[in-house]
């Protein structure tokens, strides 16, 4: 490839053709344009007329120039010009392809694979032995340099991992021999990079491929002051950037969906962003993860685990008296330990069980009534955790003495014992180390915890299995029994410092943690995790996708406490018993910085300008010039203008083609429909709300819809003419898509084959009815006496109305307000004159008062009017206001139409004024009172 500044040519010898251009100039100048043959009857008159000039028309200079330019471009084009040609000099010898393959590579991993493929293809062409190593998954021994073909086949197996490159010293030590290295960096600076680079450079040249990109990593979530704090860090630190974070959780039906969204805004020049999400506790407990949609990387996902979870714990102390000082209160230490991480409930036992908390703690409660016992038992069997503390009352009472109490794990001896007190001989007892299998296994036992009094368990065959903690002398301190899905735990000491110093020690809190009563960040509880085994539940891959963890071995708590994900600790959700712990990629101490490379390492991709082959462009321009030349030649020889039939049009067509091809093709407008849709909704709202608009439900049957529209138009005109209601043109409403709240009245002609509305539409309709809307159902069959049993429309109406919140109905009573909102009516005919029209039933206690013309009926507007008289047909008018359909016969028909219109007026008046007319009955009385 020959280079000319930023231009390179693949076939430079073709440029010699440019020498031909001057020769061509001479030839073109010498040859006159070809003559045109014309049929011309008057040629006889021309005979003998010689040309005055012996020389013909020369090709004009600009046309020559055009042709030469076209030819020059063709020659240039075929010489294969390339803008910004890449000038990698292919090396030889073994080639080591290193890929970081960390989570930061995930967003554009396909681009990396393409690059590796290209490298492998080149290596195959040159016959270089090649090895491919992902630094997140380094091979145990030295990489084997093999043929590139085999590597190309195994390339799909190389995937980014959701962790950072690990300890590379072993890998670095195993390298030997000279080789060239091509390093596909993920663009993040890390400490392990420099030593490895210098080592690689000692083996041979190193070149680096790295693309600049924006990486955002979420830091662990924290709960502060009832809010969820989202924090994120980014690289490179540049102009302001806003990232949407979605808080995802399970909705009440158990489906996963975004529960909340927040915008993380990075200020210009800032690497950190923080946003607080104010979520109600109910929602916060549902939260399973926060993710950054659109950023495909493991660091863009934060699983919550238990970190955000606040358990509901009910506390109840036996016989609490107000005279006790605060520190002696049996619940004081529990309060202190649980308050930061749990929601506490206090109240009577009956109330507490109804609240269905995660755990109930009974401190020294002895007497539980049989009903409460039953309720508690049922609650425990459903998975509740009942935690009981002993105390003087429990010791004094005869609970579980001799027989097993369902709410105590073991049988107790009467009285309890006191050791190391002022009146006893023994020393206070220390705690024995926790046995394996105990939930407390691994917790260090502080030597200063002493127990001076306890309740004693009755020895028995099952006792040993139920003891989870014991004193140094082997007497049980904590016993546990599984009841159904839940468990009952008894601390044989008090919850205050009366019987032991346990509540004063840190061990107390750790023990509560182990019982899943409290939870904290893993780092803080390295000790608390000691000795536990955690089972992976869900794993995050490098792309930030969640997958269930199948058949993976458990991970010891100690490794979990370290927190940093790696090959042996895959990021994801781990569980142990009731507790859940999340291992996330983004950590508190994570800092992102773009990788920097020494000056002697060539870095590709950073400022790389893509190769741009110009051949196609040049040839296209040359073709355009040749087309222009064609038109110009035609024009010059007179064939473009009316010289001959047909040629003019042909030339014009050619010109049109050139112009069309010169126009840039318009960008594809697939998204065009979206923006207008929004303005369409706005327009709809604007029209519907600027005036009173009557609406009808679009049934999908064109005839019915048109008739309904015409009917409402007729009614609107009547209203306009007769009343102070001046409605706009009626609208058809699609109950699935359109907002209903704008319309006072929905006329719904029921057709037998109408599709049932979707649940969302029913939801909307119910809200519409609840908000004071009125739906007029018209089965148009004049047969509602049987309330829909016999006609298809009637059955359809039943199906339609079933999910609607419709109150009980009754046939329109003679004193209903609808009979007198504007006109006094007793018949409600439409096209048919059936009498049955159904409205909301009046209250049963409505009675006609003395001296009142009608009962004081239900307040408000009937939400539905159901009839079958096909009112729209009677109301329908055409554009000029003439009735559309014949009604009845002669004058009686006109009367029927008039009554139908009056009913329509009453309907609209009723929906707009409510029971105003009912209240009018009080006007004389009010006036009288005002007058006197």
């Amino acid at each position: 490839m020959t280079l000319l500044g930023p231009l390179g040519f693949t076939a430079p010898w073709l440029l010699l053709g440019l020498v031909l251009l001057p020769i061509l100039w001479l030839i073109l100048r010498a040859v006159p344009p070809a003559p045109i043959r014309r049929r011309f009857p008057a040629v006889a008159l021309l005979l003998g007329l010689g040309d005055e000039e012996s020389q013909s028309d020369r090709t004009p200079w600009w046309l020559l120039l055009l042709r030469l330019a076209a030819l020059g471009l063709v020659i240039l084009g075929f010489a294969g010009p390339v803008l910004n040609p890449s000038e990698r000099t292919p090396g030889d010898g073994p080639l080591l392809i290193l890929a970081d393959a960390s989570w930061a590579d995930a967003p554009d991993w396909p681009a990396r694979t393409d690059r590796i493929e290209a490298l492998l293809a080149e290596a195959r062409r040159l016959g270089r032995p090649t090895a491919l190593v992902a630094l997140t998954d380094p091979p145990a021994e030295a990489p084997v340099f093999g043929p590139a073909e085999a590597l190309a086949q195994s390339l799909p197996g190389v995937q980014p991992r959701p962790w950072e490159p690990q300890d590379l010293t072993a890998f670095a030590a195993s390298l030997e021999g000279p080789f060239e290295t091509y390093w596909l960096s993920d663009g993040l600076e890390r400490a392990s990079r420099a030593p490895l680079l210098s080592l690689l450079q000692s083996h041979g040249p190193v070149s680096v491929f790295q693309t600049p990109r924006s990486i955002v990593a979420l830091r662990p979530l924290a709960a502060e002051e009832g809010e969820v704090v989202l924090r994120a860090t980014r690289t490179p630190v540049g102009p302001d950037l806003t990232v949407t974070a979605a808080a995802v959780g399970l909705d009440p039906s158990g489906t996963e969906r975004p529960l909340a969204e927040a915008e993380l805004s990075f200020a210009p020049g800032e690497a950190e962003a923080e946003v607080r999400l104010d979520l109600p506790p109910e929602l916060r407990n549902r939260l399973t993860r926060v993710e950054l949609p659109g950023r495909r990387s493991a660091a863009a996902v934060q699983l919550t685990g238990d970190a955000l979870r606040r358990r509901e714990i009910a506390l109840l102390a036996g016989g609490t008296s107000d005279e006790l000082p605060e520190l002696l209160s049996p619940l004081h230490y529990l309060h202190e330990a649980l308050e930061p991480s749990a929601d506490l409930i206090e109240g009577t036992l009956g109330d507490i069980v109804l609240a269905n908390p995660d755990a109930i703690i009974l401190a020294d409660v002895a007497e539980i009534s049989p009903e409460e016992t039953q309720a508690l038992e049922a609650w425990v069997e459903d998975g509740g955790l009942l935690l009981r503390f002993a105390g003087p009352r429990l010791a004094a009472a005869d609970v579980a003495v001799g027989e097993t109490d369902p709410l105590l794990p073991v049988r107790l001896r009467a009285g309890g014992r006191s050791v190391g007190g002022a009146m006893s001989w023994g020393e206070p007892k220390a705690l024995a180390p926790f046995e394996p299998g105990s939930p407390f296994f691994g917790l260090p036992v502080p030597p200063d915890v002493e127990v001076s009094a306890q309740v004693l368990a009755e020895p028995g065959p099952e006792l040993a299995a139920r003891v989870v903690a014991e004193l140094a002398d082997g007497t049980p301190l904590v016993t546990r029994r599984e009841v159904g899905a839940g468990q009952v735990i008894l601390f044989h000491v008090t919850a205050n410092a009366e019987w032991s110093s346990l509540p004063l020690s840190g061990l107390f809190v750790q023990m509560l943690e182990r019982l899943a009563l409290t939870a904290g960040a893993p780092a803080e509880q390295a000790e608390a995790l000691e000795g536990t085994i955690w089972q992976p539940e869900q794993l995050i891959d490098a792309f930030g996708r969640l997958a269930p963890a199948d058949d993976l071995p458990g991970v010891p708590g100690a490794r979990l406490a370290a927190g940093t994900p790696g090959p042996e600790l895959l990021p994801g959700l781990y569980s142990s018993g009731e507790r859940a712990l999340a291992i996330n990629v983004g950590s508190e101490e994570m800092s992102l910085a773009p990788a920097t490379w020494p000056a002697d390492v060539p870095v590709e991709g950073l400022a790389a300008r893509a190769e741009l082959p110009l051949q196609g462009w040049l040839l296209a321009v040359a073709l355009g010039l040749l087309l222009l030349d064609m038109i110009a030649s035609l024009a010059l020889s007179g064939r473009l203008r009316g010289g001959g039939r047909g040629t003019g049009r042909g030339a014009a067509a050619a010109l049109a083609i050139v112009l069309l091809s010169a126009l840039p093709p318009g960008p594809a407008r697939a998204q065009e429909g979206e923006a207008p849709a929004e303005t369409g909704t706005d327009l709809f709202a604007e029209i519907a709300t600027s005036e009173v608009v009557l609406a009808h439900v679009l049934t999908g049957d064109d005839t019915v819809d048109e008739l309904a529209e015409a009917g409402l138009l007729g009614l609107s005109r009547t209203l306009f003419a007769r009343t102070s209601v001046e409605p706009g043109p009626p609208m058809g409403v699609d109950i699935e898509a359109d907002e209903l709240a704008f319309f006072p009245l929905l006329y719904w002609p029921v057709t037998a084959d109408m599709a049932l509305p979707s649940p969302a539409a029913y939801d909307k309709l119910n809200r519409y009815l609840a908000g004071g809307g009125m739906i007029v159902f018209d089965t148009r069959d004049s047969d509602l006496g049987t309330f829909g049993g016999s006609t298809p429309e009637g059955r359809m109406l039943q199906a339609l109305a079933r999910p609607l919140n419709i109150p009980p109905l009754e046939p329109l009573p003679a004193d209903h307000v609808l009979t007198r909102t504007f006109y006094l009516l007793q018949d409600f005919p439409g096209r048919f004159a059936s009498h049955d029209v159904w409205v909301e039933a009046s209250t049963p206690d409505a009675e006609q008062l003395e001296g009142m013309p009608f009962r004081n009926l239900n307040d408000g507007v009937t939400p539905v009017v159901i009839g079958g008289n096909d009112w729209a047909a009677a109301w329908a008018v055409d554009e000029i206001g003439a009735p559309l359909l014949p009604i009845g016969r002669g004058q009686a028909g006109d009367r029927q139409r008039e009554l139908a219109l009056r009913f329509g007026v009453n309907l609209v008046m009723h929906v707009l004024t409510g029971n105003y007319k009912s209240d009018q009955v009080h006007v004389p009385a009010l006036l009288e009172r005002l007058g006197n």
Partner: protein
Amino acid sequence: MSAPADLRSRAEALADPLPPLLASAEQLAATVALGQHGRRRAGLGDSFWQYRPSHQSDASTRIDWRRSGKTDQTFVQDKEWQIAQSVALWVDRSSAMRHASSDRIPQKAERARLLALALSALLIRGGERVGLTGSTAEGDGLPPRPGEAQLARLANALVGEESAEYGLPGQEGLPPHSRAVFLSDFLGDPAPLEAAIAQAADRGIRGAFLQILDPEEESFPFRGRTIFESGAGSLRHETLKADALRQRYLDRLAERKDRLAQLARMSGWLFTTHLTSEPAAPALLWLYTALDQRA
């Protein structure tokens, strides 16, 4: 001879253009007949036409004494002119006439045929006898006859084409003292035409000749290197700059028209030029009035 089916198909193909031609000719003729009043003028005939004051040249026997008795003047009774005239048409059907410079305007031959037939229709309606004189080359004349049937025969005869480069009127179908109408572009050699018209004038034949030209021939809108070919291809002229020729061509055309007008003046005929891009009616009117003049 050819089979009857073949004959019939050829006849049908031949008759095909006739109805439209006839129809458009009738239509064209109708526009004239409405405005003009035929030969309603004094002449030889049986029926009374008008009284007019007697001239010196009137024989005394022609004086109508009954009319003259009412006044001091003497009157002569004119009779309506009733002698049927013979009109011979010549329509140039040579290849030079089959030319039109664009799709929108008709060929010269087409226009000539239309004018001839329309004129025939007018004349036949007025009771004249119309015939066709053939070209010198072909000689397929049609003797003058009255009646509507003659119109169909004329239309049939007008459809034929000739292969000659330029046409010349023949003398066969021209009765002495009749009228003649020549329709052509007159772009060929003018000398034979002059001879023919002189000969006809000698035989007492009066008439009109109408030069039908294409607008292209009138304006010469050509440029660049061009080879001009005649209709049959026997004549050709090549030029390197057609636009340089224009003025000299137009001069020559004017000269030719001048010569034709001269010829008309000499022989007592009438001459004008008609462009195919113009409507046909004015040309028909001109032809009709030209024939209308008193012999």
